[in-house]
Symmetry: C2
Subunit: 330 residues, 2 copies
Amino acid sequence: MITFKQMEALFWIAELGSFAAAANKLNTTQSAVSKRIQELETGFGIAIFDRSRRTARLTEKGEELLLLARDLLERRDRVVERVSAKEVLARRFRLGVTELTALTWLPALIDEIRAHYPRLIVEPEVELSSVLFERLAEDSIDLIVTPDVFHDARCIVTPLKRVENAWMCTPALATATLGPHPPRRLPLAGLSAFTVLTQGNLSGTGVVYGRWFRQNGMPTVHSLSSNNLVAQLGLTLSGLGITYLPVHTLRPLLRRNLLQIVETDPPLPDIPYAALYRAEHASTLCADVAAFAAQRCDFTSPLMSAGTQTGGGEKPGRALPGPARGRRAP
Amino acid sequence: MITFKQMEALFWIAELGSFAAAANKLNTTQSAVSKRIQELETGFGIAIFDRSRRTARLTEKGEELLLLARDLLERRDRVVERVSAKEVLARRFRLGVTELTALTWLPALIDEIRAHYPRLIVEPEVELSSVLFERLAEDSIDLIVTPDVFHDARCIVTPLKRVENAWMCTPALATATLGPHPPRRLPLAGLSAFTVLTQGNLSGTGVVYGRWFRQNGMPTVHSLSSNNLVAQLGLTLSGLGITYLPVHTLRPLLRRNLLQIVETDPPLPDIPYAALYRAEHASTLCADVAAFAAQRCDFTSPLMSAGTQTGGGEKPGRALPGPARGRRAP
DNA sequence: CATTCTTACGTACTGCGTAAGAATG
DNA sequence: CATTCTTACGCAGTACGTAAGAATG
């Protein structure tokens, strides 16, 4: 009597505000959607929508049913996910990462995921940590990999590697600023001799280090703030100033003397990375991906070896939302 | 992709042990059931049944899915019940009562239910309280009306009227046993002069009074025990002994001097009745029926007015499990 | 060899799409 | 009058039933 299709129709009408939009979303026609709702209404003997106006407005009973339908659909999805063989689990998986991950081991992670879940459509998104956290909180993303800055109790946190950062600039700038006989370890205050490039407090690393700077009495220096790691790197390579950058990732550039490390006293603390997903999803899928992340996490970058071209981190083409399942017009 | 029909197939196969039985239950053919399962299996990419033997055995994944399917079906039912207009809510409602209720206000209760839920198929069952409790605990009955003897925390208890009982026997027996000038109030011990008919401890009233007898030092007297109220009444009317019987119900027989009350000191306590249903069902339906019960509860009996014919309490014919919905062979 | 599930095949019916209709702002 | 939902109607594809096949105990 009652079917998932009917509930999906209800859900998407409520979500998108019109029968037409829902029909489009469900790859079917307004007519079909209308009838699914009518089936529900006659089946339950209630009015779900108030048709006195042109716009679709839920009745009170309709609102109640919507909540229940949403729950039922959600549970169905969870059942599908829990019980599906990995080889056939076809769904979107929205994976959020920060730039550093995008530049380094994101391809490896996606490979790993696709090896285990070949039908999964992985949609990576590169954003600042703060944005990723928001997206996770509002449930518009499934799993994120970011610096482990905030802890939300409703998240399951899988610790990954720690990222070792160091202050870096061009050798020329170092010599020009510190002279030919620089101290073995520069006190933090000594950094004020440089133009310091930092990351804003929208970035997890920026937040951690901003806090640390304050705790360690680092003076607020003449600094530029950027939210883009690649831009930051480019500015640094051009000799504009000094920045904290991930050591392992930039090892090739250090080797080729395009950059050099300026050791400080105290040295920068490491940034712990973690994979996070919402606890209430409690899905094997998320847990598995987190495990893959723990396994493949590696902030060394093959990209860097090829020269100063650091234009990685491009998003793969977003997969289409599945072939039309209905009998759509050709 | 995944449908309720498929899950129902799975559920009933597990429940009944074979594809054929499930098909029968679902008003369809083995073939159809088999295919519904196959759809699930290919859809999920898993094996649900182990076909190496002839008998249908669930695989591990199958067991997991069964649990999830059961939950989903249960939730669907709850949605249907919650949101359905009362006029269209068609389901079975198994109502358990004791004999006393069956003899008195059960018809009034059923009328009330049917007035509010015209499509509901009410299936009354008359059993001893202990059986009713069991049935409620094992969830094979929806709501029971019994003496309020046991309290299970998982039940929602709606108190109803209290039943006033008194010791009764034929006037002839009273005179023969107590003489022409009986005491106004017979001490409990005085009952040992009679053959005492009691109800066994499978009956709620029997349990309450058994307890009370022990507390009030009533001697274990020469007694007969019966679990059938009508039989008890018949034996009493034939002058065999003395019994506790509901005063209001038997008022007509008392008026016509077929029975008389033997007042005791102390008098029998009242028996509180209650409607009980499982808390986890939390259904409007059960709550409504309990409210109807509270409203219509009335232990006076129109049956008794017609003479000694007390052959009420017959179960109405059990309704058929709905007309075939599928396309069954004619 | 009886029972239980699967497979094959033709069919019936549900539910879909097209297109026209009604109602609203 | 454009937009939004409903209705009518014919069609298509799914899912069903029959009946035969395979496998098990």
